[in-house]
């Protein structure tokens, strides 16, 4: 117990002794983990949002006006049997008209046109793909199906969002890895300097028989603390930024939802902190391994 307090005291003393170098290491961990955690949070936001879309997504096949009820039912059954399709709904001319009335409820000109021509809107099949990314196959197949007038899909927006997410994630991960390596190197350097500053003390400790772990542990604690502080800053930064984004960007379209669940933040945030501590331990271990006298 006495030695544990001693080692923590030593670790904190070291943090103070090399304040500037320590600050550099902490900042590197902070930036790297901010990117990592930011990527995770952004990915989660995209996932939650595309998920909502995925539930709603419809490939809409507008049907020719001369289709009989029987042909329509046959077509619906056929489309429902395609492997890419999870569900198909039939929307009649009447239902389409009612839906349009709701949809354009604040567009009077449009409402007037609809009232004058209740038959204007065609009947349609609304298709829900099994995998949202497979919508284009369904579109192609529907376009060549007899009785189908025109095919529309909401898939382009999803494609764009998924592409953006993937592109950003690859970039963020690359940056995070590069900065993670830099953070480990900077922590190693900080510990290296701390060891150098205390080399006389270490020599004496070894002479009087301090055990290896007793000599090394304060440096490991120091590295872990630097990683932990950097990680905590990163988590705080992302959580605050996400909250601000939710508050400030309230005019965003309804279909974009920036809120994320607390347990995601807790789980991933804890992981990020752990990662910071691990980076600190790796950094200080590297440094200890380089010092021949401290090797076991």
């Amino acid at each position: 117990m006495t030695s544990l307090t001693y080692m923590f005291k030593e670790a904190f003393n070291n943090l103070g002794r090399n304040a500037l170098v320590v600050l550099g290491a902490i900042l590197a961990v902070f930036i790297s983990l901010t990117l990592t955690f930011g990527t995770l949070v952004f990915g989660e936001i995209v996932r939650v949002n595309t998920l909502q879309w995925a539930e709603d997504v419809r490939v809409i096949a507008f049907l020719q006006d001369d289709m009989t009820a029987e042909a329509t039912a046959d077509l619906q059954n056929e489309v429902a049997s395609w492997p890419q399709v999870s569900d198909v709904f039939y929307v009649s001319k009447q239902a389409a008209f009612e839906e349009a009335q709701v949809l354009f409820s604040n567009d009077e000109a449009m409402l007037r046109v609809l009232d004058e021509n209740p038959d204007l809107l065609p009947a349609s099949l609304r298709v829900q793909p099994a995998d949202p990314e497979d919508y284009d196959l369904i579109v192609i197949r529907l376009e060549s199906t007899p009785g189908v007038e025109k095919v529309e899909s909401a898939g382009d927006a999803i494609d764009a969002m998924i592409a953006l997410r993937d592109g950003l994630q690859i970039m963020f991960w690359l940056l995070a890895v590069a900065l993670g390596v830099a953070a480990v190197a900077l922590i190693a350097n900080t510990i290296h300097m701390a060891i150098y500053a205390r080399r006389e003390e270490i020599e004496i400790m070894q002479l009087v028989g301090a055990s290896n772990w007793f000599v090394r542990t304060p440096f490991l604690i120091e590295g872990a603390l630097e990683g932990l502080i950097g990680g905590a800053l990163a988590v705080t930064f992302i959580v605050v930024a996400q909250q601000l984004a939710v508050d400030r960007l309230s005019e965003l379209p309804d279909w974009i939802n920036l809120a994320i669940q607390n347990d995601f933040i807790l789980r991933q945030g804890a992981l990020v902190l752990l990662f910071g501590v691990a980076a600190g331990l790796v950094g200080s271990s590297l440094s200890l391994a380089v010092h021949r006298t401290l090797r076991s």
């Binding site: 003390e201 009087v208 301090a210 055990s211 000599v215």
Partner: protein, 299 residues
């Protein structure tokens, strides 16, 4: 207590620092290692404290096969060895008390034991009134006494000293030798590498002479022998050597010194032994040693 068998140490550059060394030192013995610079005295001490492993041969220290010891066990071997160096190796930012306490703190001794032991050992080396000073506020002799106190505070079985008087004037050296002598009389084995003719000749203890890594002489009541080329005896030292050849213990050296050295050295000597009320100190040592053996029982 210490046993070297056919020990050879060759450094990476090809330098042979020890060659087929066989040496046995019993518990409580006081041994001088002498020889020219580069003869391998320091290497032998470094091998004994397991600072480095021998290239060949076996070393037993305090009942442990030191040359075969896995590296993680070395710290525990070191706890039975006290070390004193020419350059003191004190921590400049810590007080006398803290420097001595450091050796106990880092081996995990309880605070109450530290608070009990450090003042006793400081009293033993005559620095009780300077416990709060920093090393730079002390004379060289005083700094070395702090180093000896640190080496002895954990009550080691063996004390290894590499030129402990190398940076000190003769009178101050005598003060250090008095303390080492007392430590040896408590049953601690003392091995001391030195160039100091006066001390070796005065103490009349076992002398092991090294020559290019080999033991060239091993006498149980030896003297330094002044044929080494690197010795540059000053006038005062010459007199000391001549007049102290028959001295039995350092106490005699003191008398001889007082009779021969100039006034300034005498003053320094007076300071060095000022607080040493002999009997009281010996009592202290006995007391401390008893507690030391109790500690070992616990461990």
């Amino acid at each position: 207590m210490i046993k070297l068998e056919n020990v050879t140490k060759v450094y990476p550059g090809g330098t042979v620092a020890a060659k087929d060394v066989n040496l046995e030192i019993a518990k409580g013995e006081f041994v001088f290692l002498v020889g020219a610079s580069g003869s391998g005295k320091s290497t032998l001490l470094r091998l004994m404290m397991r600072e480095e492993p021998p290239t060949n041969g076996d070393i037993w220290i305090a009942g442990k096969h030191a040359s075969q010891l896995p590296s993680w066990k070395i710290p525990y071997l070191r706890r039975s060895i006290g070390t004193v160096f020419q350059d003191f190796k004190l921590l400049p930012t810590r007080t006398v008390y803290e420097n001595v306490a450091f050796a106990m703190e880092v081996t995990g001794k309880h605070r109450s034991i530290i608070r009990n032991q450090v003042p006793q050992v400081l009293k033993l080396v005559g620095l009780s009134d300077k416990a709060d000073r920093l090393p730079r506020q002390l004379s060289g002799g005083e700094q070395q006494r702090v180093a000896v106190a640190r080496a002895f505070v954990n009550r080691p079985l063996i004390l290894l000293a590499d030129e402990p008087t190398g940076n000190l004037d003769p009178a101050t050296s005598v003060g250090i030798m008095r303390i080492l002598d007392r430590i040896s009389r408590t049953g601690t084995t003392v091995v001391m590498a030195t160039h100091d003719h006066a001390i070796v000749d005065a103490m009349q203890r076992r002398v092991v002479e090294l020559d290019r890594g080999r033991i060239s002489r091993d006498e149980s009541h030896g003297i330094y022998e002044t044929r080494q080329e690197d010795s540059v005896p000053g006038p005062a030292l010459d007199e000391i050597e001549d007049e102290t050849a028959i001295a039995d213990t350092v106490d005699d050296v003191e008398e001889e010194l007082e009779a021969t050295v100039d006034e300034a050295t005498k003053a320094a000597l007076a300071t060095a032994i000022e607080d040493d009320a002999d009997e009281e100190l010996d009592d202290d040592i006995d007391e401390i040693s008893e507690e030391g053996s109790e500690d070992e029982g616990d461990a």
